[in-house]
C-alpha cells in the first residue's frame, strides 16, 4: 500500500471517480443519484452522515457511505453503512478495512455503539468483507414480499 493513502470526506470533484466505481446503478441514473447523495451526506455537514473516499496518491479508489438512524423498528441509534466500493485493482489491500474503521471511529466519537448493514446474500465478496470486520447476523431480520 502506498504511503500516500488517506481516507477523507468526499468532495464534488470526486464524483466522476465515484460514479466509475458504482457497479450497481444504470449509467444514465448515476449523475443525478450521486449528486443527491453528495448533497445529503456532505453538503448537509452533519457528523452523523458520513461519505468518505479512499485516496491513493491522487486517485479515488473506494468509498463508504453511512448515516445514523435512530429508533427505526425500535432500534436504538446505530450507524448504517449503505454503500461500499473498492476499485477491483485495490482489493485485498486493506482499503475497505481502513474506510470501515474510519467510519466506525467517527460514529464512536458521537456515541454510536453499533454498526449495521444489509447485503445481497449472493454478494459473497461484500458479505465476506463485513464478516471479516466482525459483523454478524443481528437481532433484526429483513423480510420482503413481491406485491406485483
Amino acid at each position: 500500500m502506498s504511503d500516500h493513502f488517506l481516507t477523507r470526506i468526499a468532495t464534488l470533484s470526486d464524483l466522476d471517480a465515484i460514479i466509475a466505481l458504482d457497479e450497481f446503478r444504470p449509467d444514465e441514473e448515476k449523475p443525478a443519484y450521486w449528486q443527491e447523495i453528495f448533497n445529503r451526506y456532505v453538503m448537509s455537514d452533519r457528523e452523523d452522515r458520513i461519505f468518505l473516499v479512499a485516496q491513493v496518491d491522487a486517485a479515488v479508489v473506494g468509498f463508504i457511505i453511512g448515516e445514523v438512524r435512530a429508533w427505526e423498528f425500535g432500534s436504538p441509534p446505530c450507524g448504517w453503512i449503505f454503500a461500499l466500493a473498492v476499485s477491483p485493482q485495490m482489493r485485498e489491500m486493506s482499503v475497505g478495512k481502513r474506510m470501515f474503521n474510519e467510519i466506525c471511529d467517527r460514529w464512536r466519537k458521537i456515541g454510536i455503539k453499533t454498526v449495521r448493514t444489509m447485503t445481497d446474500r449472493d454478494n459473497r465478496l461484500t458479505l465476506s468483507f463485513f464478516r471479516g470486520m466482525g459483523l454478524r447476523s443481528g437481532r433484526y431480520i429483513e423480510l420482503e414480499k413481491q406485491i406485483v
Binding site: 446474500r121 459473497r124 458479505l127 465476506s128
Partner: protein
C-alpha cells in the same frame, strides 16, 4: 441446523492447521486438543488430503499441514466435502407433493437452508480464526 460429526471434526482440524500453515500436527495431537475420536478424525484427514485442503507430511514427526487459502476458503467449502446442505426434501416423508401444506413446508425448509448457506458461505477460515483469537484474548 445440526452439522454431522464429520463436518464438525473437519472444521476443527482445518481451523487448527490453518492457524499456522507452517506447523504440522498429527491426527492424535489434533484429536487430543479437541477431545475427539482419533480413529474418526483419521478418516476425515484422509478425505481432506484427497481434496487438497491439507497435505500429509510423511516420515518421523510427520503429520498434516494446511494446504489451502484461509482467505478464500469458507466454512461451507469444508462442510460440503462431507455433507450436502440442500434443503430437506419432503418427498421422502410424503407422496402428496402438490398438497399446499407440503408445498409451504418445502418453501420454509428452503428458506432456512438458504439462510444457513448464506452464513456459512461468507465466513472464511481467516475470519473464523480471527474471531477465535479475539475470544482467546478476552478469556
Amino acid at each position: 441446523m445440526k452439522l454431522n460429526k464429520a463436518s464438525m471434526f473437519a472444521l476443527m482440524a482445518v481451523l487448527e492447521l490453518a492457524g499456522d500453515p507452517e506447523r504440522q500436527l498429527s491426527t492424535g495431537e489434533i484429536a487430543a486438543k479437541y477431545g475427539i475420536s482419533t480413529h474418526h478424525l483419521a478418516k476425515i484427514m484422509r478425505d481432506l488430503v484427497h481434496n487438497g485442503v491439507v497435505s500429509a507430511v510423511r516420515g518421523v514427526g510427520g503429520g498434516y499441514r494446511f494446504a489451502g487459502n484461509a482467505q478464500r476458503t469458507t466454512l461451507l467449502d469444508i462442510i460440503q466435502l462431507f455433507e450436502s446442505l440442500d434443503a430437506e426434501t419432503l418427498v421422502q416423508y410424503s407422496s402428496q407433493v402438490n398438497e399446499p401444506v407440503i408445498k409451504e413446508l418445502q418453501r420454509i425448509a428452503t428458506e432456512i437452508d438458504d439462510l444457513t448457506k448464506a452464513v456459512l458461505d461468507t465466513i472464511t477460515l481467516e475470519t473464523a480464526l480471527k474471531s477465535a483469537l479475539c475470544e482467546r484474548l478476552n478469556a
